[in-house]
């Protein structure tokens, strides 16, 4: 089994991408992507929880009896989510207010329990940490893409932490894009594009 840290990270971004590859963690991907800023905040929280949970699960994998492993995973994850929840509330109140109930809901984010079950439970600590980094980068990129599209079309500009990145001459802005339907529309079209590319690659014999 030949693998190295770099290829594992790339696998997390492309083939095992949480949103498009594995179709996990859809709830936060749609709910908090009204702006790039929220997308980054959500990804940061998810990264911390995924990283710590993967390391813990991997380190304890020989001690955890396999029949009760899921409840144990959930309790490990819930502990780290509580930490993120309290830290965000104390240090980033505006972000905490914007993300709202979705910070505590990281605990039921299927990406985290999916990686714990499918990867960290079977691999050593180092590769579990690498896997967490890869999956988090993949998650971050997709969230920023969806957030960017929605913010640009919905408000006419992308403002991240006080800096205006892009402003477009769309007038009037399509407010629907930052309302819930815009999220479904964006992810539906992006998924169709990903499927099309996959099919084309397969047809070329890739």
């Amino acid at each position: 089994m030949s693998r190295n840290p770099v290829s594992e990270i790339i696998r997390g971004i492309t083939r095992d991408n949480p949103i498009f590859g594995l179709v996990l963690g859809l709830c936060p991907a749609l709910a908090v992507t009204t702006s790039v800023e929220n997308a980054i905040g959500m990804s940061a929280g998810t990264f911390f929880v995924l990283f710590c949970a993967n390391i813990f699960v991997s380190a304890l994998r020989k001690q955890i009896p396999s029949t009760v492993r899921l409840p144990i995973f959930i309790i490990i994850i819930a502990t780290f989510v509580s930490i993120v929840d309290m830290v965000m509330e104390a240090f980033f109140p505006p972000m905490y207010a914007a993300l709202g109930v979705f910070i505590p809901l990281i605990v039921v984010n299927c990406v985290i329990i999916g990686r714990a079950e499918a990867y960290a439970n079977k691999n050593n600590v180092f590769y579990s940490a690498i896997d967490a980094i890869g999956a988090s980068i993949g998650f971050l990129l997709v969230l920023c893409l969806i957030g960017g599209i929605r913010e640009l079309l919905g408000t006419g500009q992308i403002v991240t932490f006080g800096y205006t990145l892009i402003s477009s001459p769309i007038d009037p802005a399509m407010t629907t894009m930052i309302l819930p339907p815009g999220a479904f529309l964006t992810i539906g079209i992006l998924m169709a594009i990903v499927n099309y590319q996959k099919a084309r690659k397969a047809a070329r014999g890739g």
């Binding site: 179709v23 996990l24 859809l26 709830c27 936060p28 749609l30 709910a31 409840p71 959930i74 309790i75 819930a78 502990t79 989510v81 509580s82 929840d85 309290m86 709202g100 109930v101 505590p104 809901l105 605990v107 039921v108 984010n109 299927c110 329990i113 629907t176 309302l179 819930p180 339907p181 999220a183 479904f184 529309l185 992810i187 539906g188 079209i189 998924m191 169709a192 594009i193 499927n195 099309y196 996959k198 099919a199």
Partner: protein, 195 residues
């Protein structure tokens, strides 16, 4: 903020803050289990039951154990344990007493533990500082809203499988595009029923 009419809370749970289409809670089951009406109905039934139970049990847990002991920070961990335990309990009871229902629900019962809609109800109840009756009403309403959307979605998806569309849109992208239309309809409740 506690003085909210029960009817307002009910309508909020079913339509205005619909869990699937407006709040994006429970999307995994939304795209996973809506391939046919029968399993969508089974899943919805189980979700209504667990949601109602979780809303009431977690209310007592939070108000009478966690709050007096100043241990609100344990809320998240204890809620998830309560939900997991409830799902187990429901599974035992249903399997023992109503085997036919158990067979038709199948694997959907254990899946509810990781359904963010259930935890969402519990967390929103705590966040909005609802009392017991209000929590219960919101739990039932959220379950009903969930059921309505699951049934609509599965009906539409059953029909739309027969439509001739490009192969790369078939499946999930198609489900999301249908959800876009449904969501557009639900967004308008913001203006129809001002609260």
């Amino acid at each position: 903020m506690v003085e909210k009419a029960l009817f307002a809370i009910f309508m909020e749970g079913v339509f205005i803050k619909n869990f699937l289409l407006i709040q994006f809670l429970g999307l995994c089951s939304f795209v996973g289990v809506t391939k046919d009406v029968k399993s969508a109905a089974g899943m919805s039934g189980a979700v209504i039951f667990v949601m109602t139970m979780a809303a009431s049990v977690s209310y007592f847990l939070y108000t009478y154990i966690l709050e007096p002991a100043k241990m609100e920070f344990l809320g998240l961990i204890s809620f998830i344990v309560v939900i997991a335990a409830l799902v187990q309990l429901v599974e035992f009871v249903v399997r023992k007493n109503i085997p036919a229902l158990y067979r038709s629900l199948g694997i959907y019962l254990p899946l509810i533990t990781t359904n963010c809609a259930v935890l969402g109800v519990v967390l929103l109840n705590v966040l909005s500082e609802y009392n017991f009756i209000q929590s219960l009403v919101f739990g039932v309403a959220a379950g009903i809203g969930f059921t309505i959307v699951m049934l609509m979605m599965s009906g539409i998806r059953e029909r739309s499988n027969l439509v001739n569309i490009p192969s790369s849109v078939r499946g999930l992208p198609q489900a999301f595009l249908v959800a876009t239309m449904l969501s557009m309809a639900f967004v308008n409740y913001f203006w129809v029923i001002p609260i």
